[in-house]
């Protein structure tokens, strides 16, 4: 199989004031690959994934996404974000719009699609995330799990080439985590390129092609899941896994 890189990070560094959030990060994500990033909190996972669509700007190194080099205020940034979907921990649905409007506003206003075309796509994805009947409600009327599935559908409606997930289940009640992960597993089966920051190791085991373990702003280990979960190369990853798999 020919590997086409879609995200290339070379020596990426990022500061928040004096705090160094990312140090010398090298990572390649290929087309169709599912990468799961894990690590203790504060290890820079979210910062890294937010750099991938320019929500944070990296300070040093080189970052190429979908053939474009990211720089602050580069002219292609808006175009890039249209092709890179993002799902947030806090859902970030637009509370003043209905579910359907949440889904069609991007395709209509940004991609300039007709309302009919945008609605058709939106209903297809609502079907896929299994909440077609909620189209006319507002986000606040939905459960957390439903809201996160809407957020996934909203990102998919832009027909992205990569999907980024920033701790998509961390803000959910335990009984709703499953329904969101199911949708993500199905999405993985369609061949979507996915980069997922999560602590859900069951999900990682099921879909990941590559596991990335971060600590203190550095990538400590990159290995396939079978190695990572049974015989992690680094001592730190072993300790981390022991801690979260204990329960």
């Amino acid at each position: 199989m020919v590997q086409t890189p879609i995200i290339i990070a070379e020596g990426v560094g990022k500061y928040f004031g004096d705090f160094k959030a990312l140090t010398d990060v090298d990572l390649i994500v290929n087309q169709g690959e599912r990468v799961v990033i894990c690590g203790p909190s504060g290890s820079g996972k979210s910062t890294l994934i937010r750099c991938f669509n320019g929500l944070e700007n990296h300070d040093t190194g080189r970052l190429c996404v979908d053939g474009m080099e990211l720089r602050e205020d580069a002219p292609g940034m808006r175009q890039l974000r249209q092709d890179v979907g993002m799902v947030f921990q806090q859902f970030n649905l637009f509370p003043h719009l209905t579910i359907l409007e949440n889904l069609i506003i991007g395709p209509m206003k940004v991609r300039k699609q007709s309302r009919a075309a945008a609605e058709a796509t939106a209903r297809k994805y609502l079907e896929r995330v299994r909440i077609p009947e909620q189209a006319d409600k507002r986000p606040a009327q939905l459960s957390g799990g439903q809201q996160q599935r809407v957020a996934i559908a909203r990102a998919l409606c832009m027909q992205p080439r990569v999907m980024l997930f920033d701790e998509p289940t961390s803000a959910l009640d335990p009984e709703m985590i499953g329904e969101v992960l199911d949708v993500m597993v199905e999405l993985a089966e369609t061949g979507m390129t996915m980069v997922v920051v999560t602590h859900e190791m069951g999900f990682a085991r099921k879909v990941a092609d590559t596991m990335v373990f971060m600590e203190a702003g550095r990538i400590v280990e990159v290995s396939p899941p079978e190695t990572f979960f049974t015989a992690p190369k680094s001592q730190r990853a072993r300790v981390f896994l022991d801690q979260i798999l204990e329960h």
Binding site: R81, G85, F88, Q90, N92, P95, H96, K109, V110, R138
Partner: protein, 269 residues
């Protein structure tokens, strides 16, 4: 023990019958004091003349009196200024939040300049200095003064409203490829309206009240009309009471209207 007694007192005072009678007693006391005071200085009350200045019925039907005409001018002036001040205020707020150093500096400079000059001095500046230079009349001077003065206050209301929308909304808008302008238009501003409505109402009430100041350059609005009637008739007590009541009626109607509007916005989101 003491707390309990205070609590009982509060409950008694808040009972509808007690509250209404207390209110009536206080109003009656004020009315009686002004009446006897006026009596003692030998004031000649002529309330019967006042309705004629509000409206008359002739063979041609209903005729608006001077006070109604003045009220209309006040409403027109306030509405014009409110619209202009809102547009200007939005511009200043967006400039301040633009992230451009120059934009921020211009906005803050404007805000501090306008906010820290007395309204009366600003009015004189527009009427006696800028008026002759740019050739605009007293109405234009009045409109510009009030618009500029209130735009500074309104821009702060907009800024606070925009900042009340969660950062995640900006990020979500950016993540589907929206430009900053699109994010403002479709995502941020519609959500900030809810936060802005209550202070904006306060501001339009303030604007109506401060519009009285343009009477010093003889713009023919409610206060000017009142002053003119008094210089003809010497009925200062009746006319000032009436003018105050008309302002009060106008601002109260507005406040109730907007709180109805607020309830609608509150249920929608």
């Amino acid at each position: 023990m003491r707390m309990a007694a205070l609590f009982t007192l509060k409950r008694v005072l808040n009972a509808p019958a007690v509250a209404v009678s207390l209110y009536a007693v206080i109003v009656a006391a004020i009315a009686w004091a002004s009446y006897t005071g006026a009596q003692q200085m030998g004031y000649n009350w002529q309330w019967y003349q006042v309705p004629g200045y509000i409206y008359t019925f002739t063979d041609d039907g209903f005729q608006a009196g001077e006070i109604l005409t003045g009220l209309w001018a006040t409403i027109l002036l306030s509405l014009t200024c409110f619209l202009l001040a809102t547009l200007l205020g939005l511009g200043v707020a967006l400039l301040r939040l633009s992230g451009l150093i120059v934009g921020r500096a211009v906005a803050i400079g404007y805000l501090e300049f306008v906010r820290n000059i007395p309204l009366l001095v600003l009015l004189y500046l527009f009427y006696y200095v800028l008026g002759p230079i740019f050739g605009f009349d007293r109405w234009a001077a009045a409109v510009l003064t009030l618009s500029v003065y209130h735009s500074a206050l309104i821009s702060e209301i907009f800024r606070a409203g925009i900042n009340s929308v969660a950062v995640g909304q900006w990020e979500a808008a950016a993540s589907i490829g929206m430009s900053r302008a699109q994010a403002y238009r479709y995502i941020i501003l519609p959500q900030s309206v809810r936060f802005m409505l209550p202070p904006l109402t306060g501001e339009i009430v303030n604007l109506i009240k401060s519009s009285a100041i343009v009477s010093v350059i003889a713009v023919a609005e409610l206060t000017t009309v009142g002053r003119n009637i008094i210089s003809d008739t010497y009925m200062s007590f009746e006319i000032w009471f009436t003018v105050a009541a008309v302002y009060l009626a106008l601002t109260l109607v507005l406040s109730f209207g907007v709180s109805a509007l607020e309830r609608r916005f509150a249920t929608e989101t």
